[in-house]
């Protein structure tokens, strides 16, 4: 019984994924046209990905760096160093 439920759930997920893949994927969109046409002129970056994430959407990038900062703070808060570094491996 449990097996049948699992198979049914997997089948439903598979159908959704296949439908999503088979669906219509519009490659034309106004914002894409705009960025391809004006991206280099607006930001100066030849790499359009960079022109988006540091030119048009730099605020989002700032948010991502804040996420990383919070992650570092959380790890440093949770992981206490158990003892001071005494045994060194020496040359690097």
């Amino acid at each position: 019984m449990k097996r049948a439920v699992e198979i049914a759930a997997a089948a439903v997920v598979a159908v959704f994924l296949i439908l999503a893949l088979a669906g219509d994927h519009p490659t034309e969109s106004p914002i894409r046209e705009y960025i391809v046409a004006h991206g280099v002129d607006d930001t100066g970056a030849v790499n359009l990905v960079a022109s988006i994430y540091l030119g048009y959407r730099a605020f989002d990038t700032l948010g991502e760096t804040i996420v990383l900062l919070i992650a570092v703070s959380g790890v440093m808060f949770l992981v206490k160093r158990s003892k001071p570094p005494a045994d060194r491996d020496g040359d690097l």
């Binding site: 930001t43 960079a50 540091l54 990038t61 804040i66 900062l69 992650a71 790890v75 060194r88 690097l92």
Partner: protein
């Protein structure tokens, strides 16, 4: 600290500088080719993590104290905010390009994107390696 194999030791020490160079390339050419601050920073951090795994966290800490990673992380974040506020001061808006554009040539034309890439690269490299250093250093 127990000694790991010589192969691991030598391979890691020979490989890590190339990883640093490749990471720096990704950061500095982020405005021209695929790459950028995040990706390049993670590649640099993976070089540091490779040294930490192959040698030891203490060996890396002897090279660069962990405290310096933390200082770099917070300093670059402060600089990012300063760059953003600089846009306001220049009257262009928060995080808007206020430096201007250079000519296409040996120096990067998109100076603002370049500067942000460098800052984010340093921040991600410091942050990602700091997380891993702390997690590796825990089990001692």
């Amino acid at each position: 600290m127990r000694h790991k194999t010589d192969i691991l030791d030598v391979a890691a020490r020979k490989l890590a500088p190339y990883m640093f160079v490749f990471g720096l390339y990704l950061v500095t050419y982020g405005d021209l080719s695929p790459g950028g601050g995040f990706q390049g920073g993670v590649v640099i951090a993976s070089g540091i993590i490779l040294l930490a795994i192959a040698k030891s966290v203490d060996a890396v800490e002897e090279l660069i104290p962990l405290r310096r990673f933390a200082v770099a992380e917070t300093t670059t974040f402060g600089l990012l905010l300063a760059v953003g506020i600089g846009g306001i001061v220049a009257g262009a808006g928060f995080l808007a390009d206020f430096i201007g554009r250079g000519a296409i040539g040996p120096l990067p034309a998109a100076r603002f994107v370049y500067a942000l890439n460098i800052l984010i690269g340093a921040k991600v490299a410091a942050g990602a390696s700091l997380i891993c250093m702390h997690l590796f250093g825990e089990e001692r």
